[in-house]
Amino acid sequence: MSKTLVAVIVVAVVFAGAFGDAVFREPSAVVREQAIQTRPIQHPADGYASSDGCQACHPSQFASWRASYHRTMTGVATPESVAADFDGVTVTQVPGHPMRLERRGRELWAELDEPDWDGTGDAPPRITRQVVMTTGSHHQQIYWYATGHGRLLGQLPAIRLVADDRWIPRRSAVMHPPNIPLVSESGSWNAVCVSCHTTLGKTALGTPWGEQPLFAQRIDTTATEFGIACESCHGPAADHIRANRNPARRYALHLAGSADQSIVQPLRLDARRSSEVCGQCHGLWEFYDAAAERAANDSGLPYRPGDELTKTRFIVQPSSNADSPTMKRLLAEDANFVRDIFWSDGMVRATGREYNGLIDSPCYRNAKDDQHRLTCFSCHSMHREPGDQRSDREWADDQLKPQARGNGACLECHAAIGERLTAHTHHQQESSGSSCYNCHMPHTTYGLLKTIRSHQISNPSVQASLDTGRPNACNLCHLDKTHQWTAEYLERWYKTPQPASMSDDDRTIAAALVSMLKGDAGQRAIIAQAFGATAAHQASGTAWMAPYLSLLLNDSYDAVRYIAARSLRTLPGYETFVFDFVANDTDRAANQRRALGLWRDMRNRDGRPADATLLFNRDGSFIADRIDRLTNQRNNRRVFYRE
């Protein structure tokens, strides 16, 4: 073998190593996506590169992101990614005729009534469509089919309730008024979901939303990547990846310990900017005008991590911008725009808007400096920390830092309280009453068939409960106590002035029952969930709860029924109680009677509650006239949460 030939081989090997990415570039993924015409596709552009390029240098961060529900927020429907069986399944929990699901090799198909039926003929025609996308993987999973019109997606009329491993009608999964007309969800993925459930999604409708029928216009929706991926929080990374192919640059940065300016690291941003990274999706916002919306339709949302969020979007914050021209315009377009999301004092009541709660919190607003300002990252970590012993699933559930699972996050600033915790809380050290979260972030926000913690830090206040109808933290645990009782303790312990006036009901009836019987559907859902909490059982006893939860089993709102049944099953004697919250009225009423019958049997065996606060007479019978009166006073306003 000649020396020249050997030299050529050596040079070729070295060259291939240095420029292997170009030499051995795998074209398959990008080419495969671009060949697809019937659904939105993943197409990195505008300086974005997709998460594929991140793993080599950031393996542990990549792995924890892979384990997160951010990644699986939306994706291509495959036999592996769907949470339901599609193999010859008939789903009856849909309006109209049952939906039939089948697998054709690796493809998933559905036969259903045409959701976009124009009303001609006697009944909607049957259509057979390929299911191509999913949304959600944790609590619920929504399925999207290819409509056959460009990249427009339609929604299957039933969704998978993951925890219960069952199908339910789509509308039963959300807090919407009963009996409102069904509307087609075609285009919702393209126009709404794409902005926050993908990375740099571009709706790409030919004309502004609502101006022309969807089926009469071009729809070319794309995203850099499905799901909330690395570049959602770190910004476009193509330049960063390109720059760091140079090992000398990387090692210079490693050795100097300096920040790499070619990428955004949210933890290095100041407190406001870092929280805005989360707030871009976990906040309620709107476009300032139609031109901005149209630009985002074509090019994706203009916000990039590190930018000032309000430069490119209007953050809906009734406590601070209720009188702004943009808010007035939004309210003129939809008078319920604010009321559907916020309590009357401006605190958020619908989930997914945690950023709005954060920025109204005193720990954020009143922080003496940036070091002490509460941010999303005070409690949450987007990447599992080294040494975190939790399983992937456990960590991914709320992505809390290990130290933030208890009082650690709060005590970082409020150390003095931690040193005399029981003197502050007046509850035992290890009890739920000594948890900072339980008193200052109670479960007063609703979404996804459950309540979650308010992310606006607040102090328990009976006055606020009276003013807004929002249950206070004390009465969410002490379900058997009145507002009067709570007000007296708050005054005694914290010098909180008692409300100037209180109704007879607020003074004599358990606050939870007043909310449950008189409150709107949102309040009923909050109370129903509180009835299922172990701490509430310990504080309030359980013997009196079943009949009230039974009342809610026939609530007009599907979501309230679902939560009531779930809480009922936490009570002794009801562990195996079967209740289908989407069954017909007759079956539901029969099950409600069964639940009450169970309680009567237990009451006769174990003794009768006889507490007027809980609306029982001395003989254990109900104070029926008061219950009827409160029920007749129920707030039947339309509750329509934008979850």
Partner: protein, 152 residues
Amino acid sequence: MTPPDYSHRHLRLGWWWLFVFAGLGLILETLHGFKIGAYLNVSNETRRLMWRLAHAHGTLLGAVNILYGLTLRGDNPPARDPRTISQCLIGASALLPLGFFLGGVEFYQGDPGLGILVVPVGAVLLLAALFLIASTMGKSRPPAPRDRAKIR
């Protein structure tokens, strides 16, 4: 002065290298067996890769040294100066596994530690040794009788 016995040197080195780096393999298996996070956690993937490479390169270089030692004892050893080849091979045998190992002791996320810098040096030495062996292998063979006549 007695010329060094390169064959003996490389056979000895090779068997010791096999012993040491097969031993490293046993240690790595133990780390697997006891699920040691410092080796197996996703955040330590770079360490795992580097130490596996140290194990593999050390073991294979042990085998190469043995092969070279045996080759020197054959009828037709490489014609080049065995001293140069020996130095290259020993340098490669030391630097390659050591560099990989050190690269996994301290590392920067997906980048190995600075010990990795000696790996390319070792790789060049190995390639040089292999080239010198391959390019002169058999050239020291005594000429055949017919060729001898031509020479005359």
